[in-house]
Symmetry: C2
Subunit: 205 residues, 2 copies
């Protein structure tokens, strides 16, 4: 790492990284602009060269999170094509893997209280992530007889809600409760039962 002098060189990203580390360590509440600056080796005032303020910094952290998230989902989806079933299952697993691997981003995105409409870029990238999941669900629905086919957006919402619930309740140790099962197993089995309920997995498998 090159010794830095008066100019930082890459302060903007360093601040985002510091913010992510702080959010991960202390929750969205514990994060402060001043401490992020300090951790980046810089005066709090320097932050304002790069961000409009505290919220704007969190929003950028969230935006980067959505970007990674959308990529990860897209990759999982693509990789398991052309099987619609495998692709949907894979996006579920990818959701959990993302939450595990990028906890700071996850918290910034879903628990920091920042609105997805904070900026057009944020709205766009979150829509992209949602789009992947909905496409997977839509494709899957085509294998269900039209009569008993729930709307694809509903299927997507179910999977998403289950994934998010597993993350919040069992993948973090927040409620103090010990998880009865590994979150991955919980999510995978839950999605399995759900897909069986849709008639997409034979009942005896």
């Amino acid at each position: 790492m090159p010794k830095r002098g008066y100019h930082h060189g890459n302060l903007r990203q360093a601040l985002v990284d510091a913010a992510l580390a702080l959010i991960e360590a202390k929750g969205p509440t514990g994060f402060t602009l001043s401490e992020a600056a300090k951790q980046a080796g810089v005066t709090p005032a320097a932050v304002y060269r790069h961000f409009a303020g505290r919220e704007d910094l969190i929003a950028e952290a969230a935006r980067q999170g959505y970007e990674i998230f959308a990529d990860v989902m897209q990759y999982a989806y693509d990789k398991h094509q052309p099987s619609a079933l495998a692709a949907l299952e894979a996006t579920g697993r990818a959701y959990l893997a993302f939450a595990r691997r990028y906890p700071g981003h996850y918290i910034a995105m879903f628990e920091s209280g920042i609105s997805v409409n904070h900026s057009p870029e944020l709205a766009a990238v979150s829509a992209r992530a949602r789009g992947v999941q909905e496409r997977a669900a839509a494709e899957l629905s085509q294998h269900i007889p039209p009569g008993k086919r729930p709307p694809p957006t509903m299927v997507s919402a179910h999977i998403w809600a289950l994934s998010h619930g597993v993350v919040e309740l069992f993948a973090r140790n927040s409620p103090g409760t010990q998880s009865p099962f590994p979150p991955e197993a919980l999510l995978e089995s839950g999605i399995g039962v759900y897909l069986r309920g849709l008639g997409l997995i034979p009942p005896d498998s």
Copy 2:
């Protein structure tokens, strides 16, 4: 309402109520001890006659929430006996109804970052709530052939995760996104598909 003088009469509960209103209005971050005191018409210092501090106040709000929550779940369960299926579905609906009706409590319980192990009372009442759900799931499992029967605690965890996910993502307007469906419909249909996947509802119903 009787005019009050120097003594408040029921300050402890008034503080809890004020805290709940603030939490509901501004999120767990926005809540401050000072403002809760002010809203109860009292000096911040007065709070310390009744609570050890800020966190203790939140914990009491959460405790009362768990108390109501456990009652509501229990009631839903009892009311739909002896049908194990109806009882489980009812607890799912009760979960959502609780989140809707007592948002301040819900946030204090699940989003305030307060640990369920803050106090023995809190741990006890949260265990009671969990117990209702697990009993319902256990009873239901008995209708599943043993070979393909998932552990009851897992079924309970699935339902809980789905419920919680629906609340967090779609019952609050937090992520800025519009819910594509009413949360109640989303949860009900999700549980329906899930139970069908367990083989507890005939596939053609």
